[in-house]
């Protein structure tokens, strides 16, 4: 069992991050080095400043708000919570004063960030079961949603346990020791991390996250990097 824990929590993590960073990097460089489109792809009438409107389109999804308002609510919640999650995970490495502008306990959001994400992901998933989105979807779309759901569910479970039902075996300090050891390339697994009642959750959380990171550069998740330049093309 320990071997499995070591594999998932250490070796696979390194591998996944390598694939994620190198894969995404290489793919982006390759795409951006392709010849540029020589003609305009703009939609009119135009609004100025164009770059500001491109940012607006990229981060606020105005067309979704207009045509699919309910989807838009979930999309905004989902992406906002994703951002909070990234901040939350950074705080599991060490303290960042900048994030404590609004004082909070690690992990961010009192457990609700994860809960909202779970609900949003279920919404996205069930949406895909309905025609005509069902006919548009390909397996990749389901795999990504299911993977994300599992990651968030097991991850949040650890947070909820500490917050909501007083099961405090795995502490922020334990995560910090583990994650910092990974970062400094001197990996160690503190006793609590692999021997508490929640280690199982942690391993599953990390396992699914690894799979997601490995798949990321090759999937439609790349839209997170390509949305802005594409919206810029539309705005001219």
């Amino acid at each position: 069992m320990d071997t499995l824990y070591y594999f998932v929590l250490i070796y696979m993590v390194y591998f996944s991050f390598a694939v994620f960073f190198v894969g995404t990097g290489i793919r982006l460089v390759k795409i951006f080095r392709k010849p540029k489109q020589s003609t305009s792809l703009q939609i009119y009438p135009e609004k100025r400043p164009k770059w500001l409107w491109a940012l607006h389109d990229t981060f606020l999804f105005p067309s979704v708000r207009k045509h699919k308002p309910i989807l838009w609510i979930f999309l905004i919640l989902f992406h906002a919570c994703l951002l909070l999650l990234i901040i939350g995970h950074l705080e599991l490495f060490s303290e960042f004063r900048i994030f404590q502008i609004i004082p909070h306990e690690v992990f961010l959001g009192k457990g609700f960030v994860g809960l909202i994400l779970c609900l949003a992901l279920l919404f996205f998933l069930f949406r895909r079961f309905l025609s005509p989105v069902r006919e548009l979807s390909v397996p990749e779309d389901y795999y990504l949603l299911i993977l994300l759901f599992l990651i968030v569910l097991f991850g949040s479970q650890m947070d909820w346990a500490r917050r909501w039902y007083g099961y405090e075996e795995l502490l922020v300090e334990d995560y910090r020791t583990y994650l910092l050891s990974l970062l400094t390339l001197k990996p160690e697994l503190p006793y609590n991390v692999i021997n508490s009642g929640h280690s199982f959750m942690l391993v599953l959380h990390v396992l699914f996250a690894n799979l997601f990171l490995i798949f990321f550069p090759f999937s439609q998740s790349m839209h997170s990097f390509l949305s802005l330049p594409m919206n810029k093309l539309r705005r001219g």
């Binding site: 979704v64 397996p139 990749e140 090759f218 839209h223 093309l233």
Partner: protein, 418 residues
């Protein structure tokens, strides 16, 4: 399909993969926001007409041959082999898409379906499965550019015959040239279509405005663009660019043809002349007081159909409305926002294919007919040859009982002789 054919087709595909195209093929999340965007889907309700679905038909081939995933794990994206059946699907997708880019307005990323369909069209040409008539028409245009001298005399004779009609709309002093041709140093080169209706009204308006103009020997329409053939598109375009340079004109004015205008404006690159649509030029004459229009001629409610390639994709939105304000007191918008105007259903070469596509064009444009009916207008005005033909067809098919008119001919009819 044999190995060699497939290899050649994939080479054509590869040639299309510039940065923007790769963005478009990599990004779609199949979120379904574009579902309501396509007039074909809105009218017919079949999933294969949803923008994202059309794109997937091309994207699946991309996933198979241009992504590592296509070899390791093809099923994850439903990657598909390029074969005869795939070509049939590509044909269906590309020639039921009018390239109006309404879906691009809906897409949260701004994916350009028309551009993705250009891959499908190019593959069809490579496989000799494109609608032959489009290539044929394109080749005729190119041939005309190569051997202008053969066509020149008969063309001049034909144009001479039109002069009488032009003078009926705007009287000229004896000795003045009614339709000037081949005038070096003219200010404006007017590129019309083959039909007299495209030349007569605008010629009268130019003369009324005292424009120093000259008529192009070539017709504006670009069948190469309809067929999705970049090489032919360029050759057809170059005929006009070269003529404009030879005559040293300051402005090239494109007649009421959406494709011609967009191709000229966006594909010609940096040139010593500026490119305008005839609508913009007419609006300018009114603004500068060079022509006066009689507002009392037109009765009833007037509405304007924005041609996709001229408005949403070409930025000529205010000019037609400005002109219409001088033609009628009773103008009514068809769509609250021109960006969201429904396509007439005739673009992308569909009208050029004529009877062959008529049934599909009528079925796929029900939403357009409904939109026009809602405007309760007596006259529907537009500024594109394709749109005009299609709107006339719709008018007959759905018995809408409206007049379908060209904006230019309405301006010509309302000219006030000083």
């Amino acid at each position: 399909m044999d190995q060699k054919t497939r290899k050649d087709l994939l080479k054509l595909f590869q040639g299309k993969l510039n940065e923007a195209m790769t963005f478009y093929l990599e990004t779609c999340t199949r979120c379904g926001v574009c579902i309501e965007a396509c007039h074909v889907y809105a009218s017919m309700g079949q999933v294969r007409y949803i923008a994202a679905y059309r794109q997937e038909i091309v994207r699946r081939i991309y996933k198979k041959y241009f992504k590592a995933r296509g070899k390791v794990w093809p099923s994850v994206g439903e990657a598909k082999e390029l074969n005869e059946m795939a070509l049939e699907e590509l044909y269906e997708a590309a020639y039921s898409c009018t390239g109006c880019r309404r879906c691009m307005v809906y897409c949260p990323f701004g994916i350009d379906t028309q551009m993705i369909m250009s891959i499908a069209k190019l593959l069809l040409i490579g496989a000799h499965s494109e609608p032959e008539i489009l290539t044929l028409l394109a080749d005729t245009s190119i041939e005309k550019g190569k051997s202008l001298d053969i066509f020149k005399e008969s063309f001049l004779v034909g144009i001479k015959k039109l002069e009488k009609e032009v003078v009926k709309k705007w009287e000229m002093e004896a000795g003045e040239t009614v339709i000037p041709m081949d005038v070096e140093g003219a200010d404006l080169l007017f590129v019309a279509l083959a039909g007299a209706h495209s030349i007569i009204p605008t010629a009268a308006i130019f003369n009324a405005a005292g424009e120093n103009w000259t008529l192009s020997f070539f017709e504006a329409v670009n069948f190469g663009a309809f067929a999705g053939d970049p090489a032919r598109t360029k050759l057809i375009l170059d005929r006009i660019v070269n003529e404009a340079k030879r005559l040293k004109v300051k402005e090239v004015c494109i007649c009421e043809c959406g494709t011609a205008f967009r191709v000229m404006k966006q594909l010609a690159g940096k040139q010593p002349f500026k490119v305008s649509s005839v609508t913009e030029v007419h609006a300018r004459y009114i603004k500068e007081g060079r022509i006066k229009l009689d507002r009392s001629i037109l009765n009833g409610v007037v509405t304007y159909h924005d041609p996709c390639q001229i408005a949403r994709n070409g930025d000529v939105i205010d000019a037609p409305r400005y002109i219409l304000k001088h033609l009628t007191n009773d103008f009514r918008e068809m769509s609250p926002d021109p960006t969201y105007n429904w396509c007439c259903g005739g673009g992308g070469g569909l009208v050029a294919l004529g009877e062959e596509t008529l049934d599909f064009r009528m079925k796929s444009s029900k939403v357009k007919a409904d939109q026009i009916k809602r405007a309760e207008a007596t006259t529907v005005v537009t500024a594109c040859e394709n749109c005009h033909t299609q709107l006339c067809n719709l008018n007959d098919h759905y018995q809408m009982g409206t007049d379908v008119k060209f904006l230019s001919s309405m301006v010509a009819d309302a000219l006030v002789q000083k």
